[in-house]
C-alpha cells in the first residue's frame, strides 16, 4: 500500500510545548489510523522556532535560508499536513502566519490539513475556524472539517481525544482518496500559477498563452475586433 508523507508544522516556542504536544497527538492518531488501513506514514516535523533566525531575511527579501529551504522541500513532498500554533492576542502566532505568508501561493494546493491551536483560555477557540481556516483556504488546501483547539482545561477532558480522533480520521480519508495528487496530475493547469510560484514544482513554462503570443510579436487584440480575423470571436 501507499506510504503517506505527513508534515507537521508547529509554531510552539517553548520546549516542551503544548502546541507541539497537540500536533504530536494528532500525528500519532493519523499514523495509527493510516496503519489500520494498510498505509505506512513517515512524519517530518518542522519546528518553526528553529527557523526564527532566517525569518527576517525571508520576510524582507524573500531570501530563504537553508532551514527554510529544507522546510519547503518537505512541504513540496507532503501528502498531508498537521499545522499547529499557539494563539496570542486573539490571533495565530506571528511566527506561524509569517511562515505561511512567505511560502509560494501554489505550494500546498489540494493538500489535506489538520488545523490546530492552543491557548491559555477558551475565549480564543474560534481563531482556528475564523482565522486559520481562511489562511488555508487562500492557500487552496483542504482543511479537515474538525478543527482542533486546546485551552488549559481541554488537556484533562477526554473530548479533546475524541476530536483528535475525528480530525485524524478525516485526514486519513482525504489522504486515502488521492485528492491532492489527482489535483496536481489532472487539474494543475487550471490554477493560476505564476512562474516560480510553487518552489520550482510548477510544471514547465506554458508557451501557449496570450502573453507568450504577445511576446513573439503577436497582438492582444482578439478576433472579435475584426470580422476577417481568422481567429474568429474569442
Amino acid at each position: 500500500m501507499t506510504d503517506f508523507r505527513l508534515v507537521v508544522v508547529s509554531a510552539g516556542v517553548s520546549d516542551p510545548s503544548s502546541t507541539r504536544l497537540l500536533a504530536d497527538r494528532a500525528t500519532q492518531r493519523v499514523s495509527a489510523l493510516a496503519r489500520e488501513r494498510g498505509h505506512a506514514v513517515s512524519v517530518t516535523t518542522v519546528d518553526l522556532r528553529e527557523l526564527l533566525p532566517e525569518l527576517p531575511a525571508a520576510l524582507s527579501s524573500q531570501l530563504l535560508g537553508p532551514r527554510f529551504t529544507q522546510a519547503v522541500d518537505a512541504l513540496v513532498a507532503a501528502d498531508a499536513l498537521v499545522v499547529a500554533t499557539p494563539v496570542y492576542k486573539a490571533g495565530a502566532s506571528g511566527l506561524f502566519t509569517s511562515f505561511f505568508q512567505v511560502l509560494d501561493n501554489d505550494l500546498l494546493i489540494g493538500r489535506p490539513v489538520i488545523l490546530a491551536a492552543t491557548a491559555g483560555t477558551a475565549r480564543h477557540a474560534l481563531v482556528v475556524d475564523e482565522e486559520m481556516r481562511a489562511l488555508f483556504a487562500y492557500l487552496r488546501t483542504l482543511p479537515v472539517p474538525t478543527s482542533l483547539f486546546a485551552s488549559t482545561e481541554d488537556w484533562t477532558d477526554k473530548a479533546l481525544g475524541q476530536r483528535i480522533d475525528r480530525a485524524a480520521r478525516e485526514l486519513v480519508l482525504l489522504m486515502d482518496s488521492g485528492f491532492a495528487r489527482a489535483v496536481r496530475d489532472d487539474a494543475w493547469g487550471s490554477y493560476q500559477h505564476t512562474y516560480g510560484s510553487a518552489g520550482g514544482t510548477e510544471l514547465g513554462i506554458d508557451l501557449d498563452s496570450d502573453m507568450m503570443r504577445l511576446a513573439t510579436g503577436g497582438s492582444l487584440r482578439s478576433g472579435d475586433d475584426d470580422p476577417f480575423d481568422p481567429r474568429g470571436p474569442a
Binding site: E54, P56, A57, L59, S60, S61, Q62, L63, G65, T194, Y195, G196, G200, I205, L207, D210, M211, M212, L214, A215, T216, G217, S219, L220, R221
Partner: protein
Amino acid sequence: MQFGIMSVSDITRDPVSGYTPSEKERIDAIVRIAVHAEEVGLDVFAIGEHHNPPFFSSSPTTLLAHIGALTERLILTTSTTLITTNDPVRLAEEYAMLQHLVGGRMDLMLGRGNTAPVYPWFGQDIRQGLPLALENYNLLHRLWREDVVDWEGQFRTPLQGFTSTPRPLDDTPPFVWHGSIRTPEIAEQAAFYGNGYFANNIFWPKEHYQRLIRFYRQRFEHYGHGPQKKAIVGLGGQAFLAENSQDAHAQFRPYFNEAPVYGHGPSMEDFEEMTPLSVGSPQEVIDKTLTFREAFGDYQRQMFLIDHAGLPVDTVLKQLDLLGERVVPVLREELAARRDPEAAEPPTHASLVKAKYGDAEPRQPRPNANRGDNVTGGSPYQDSEAEVSAYPAP
C-alpha cells in the same frame, strides 16, 4: 567579455557620516563615477530610470549623452529603461538620438518597473505591466527597423504613416537587452527577437536565475538565432572591495545594514552566502565572480552595482580603482581562458553593422524635401521608392 558598473541612481543618506547629498551633488558624482569607469579600463556604464524620489535618473538619455561627450570608449546603457510607462515612440526617438551623438557607443536594457504608484502618473496601470512591456517592445522593434510604421495595439494611440526620427545610426538599431528575473514571457521575447537577456543577479540565489537563463538560451536556439551558446547573456552582481576581507566587511557593513532594498533583513554574511554579493579582497571578488560562468555558461557582459546605499563618491571612485586594476584584468584573462571559442562575442555597434552589411557601406538615410506633411507617400527617404508620386511633380 564586457565589464561595467550599473547604478540605480538612489540618493541615500550616508549612514556613517549622516550626510545626504543634494540632487546636484549626486548627479555630479555619477558623472565623475562614469568617467572614472572608463579611466580604470571598464567597458560599460549603465544608469537606471526612476520617476520618484529618492532617485535622480528620470532622464537617462540626457545623462548618457553628457557622459558620452566626456568619454571615448565607454559603452553607455541603462539598467533599466522603463518599457511600460514610457511611450515606445519617445524611446525610439530618444535612444536613436543618443546613438548618433555617442557614435554608436550605447545600447539599452528594458525593464518593467515595479513601483505601482509610478504607473498612473504616466497614464498606465501596473496590473497591465507585462502586456504593456511586451506590446511596447514589439512597437519599438518595428520603429527602428521600418521607415514608415502603421500600427495598432491595445495600449497606445494607433500610428498611421509614422516615421521615427532620426533613423538609427547606420540604419542599425541599438542593441536591446531584456532585463527580467522572474518572467518567462520576457525571456521568450528576448529569444524571439534574438536580443540579449539580462538577469540582475542581485537579490536571490543563482538557482533562481539559472532556470530563466536556460529557458532563454533554449528559445534563442528554437527561433533560429544560432546555438544556445550564441545567446547573449548579461549578469549583474554587486561587490565591495578592500585590500583584505576584514576591512571590506568592516567598511561595507554599515551601508549594507542600512541599504534600502535588503537592509534590516538578512545579515551581510547570509546575503553573501546566499546571493551573488561579494564583499572582500580582490581575490575573493574574482573567485566569486568566476562562479557566475560556472552557473550560467559563457556570458557577454558583467555589471557591478557599486555606488548605492549612500556610499560616498570618493569611496566609489576607490572601488573603481580596485575593480579596474585588480579585479577586471584577472577576470578578463581567466574568463578568456575558460571560454568556449564559439561563444557569442559581446554586441557592439561595429559588430551589429558588420552583421547587417558585411563589408558594404551602411545605409545613411537622407530625407526627401519637406512636402508640408510627412504622412503621405511610401518612404520619406531618398533611397526608398515612393509609392505615391509627389504632387505637384518636382
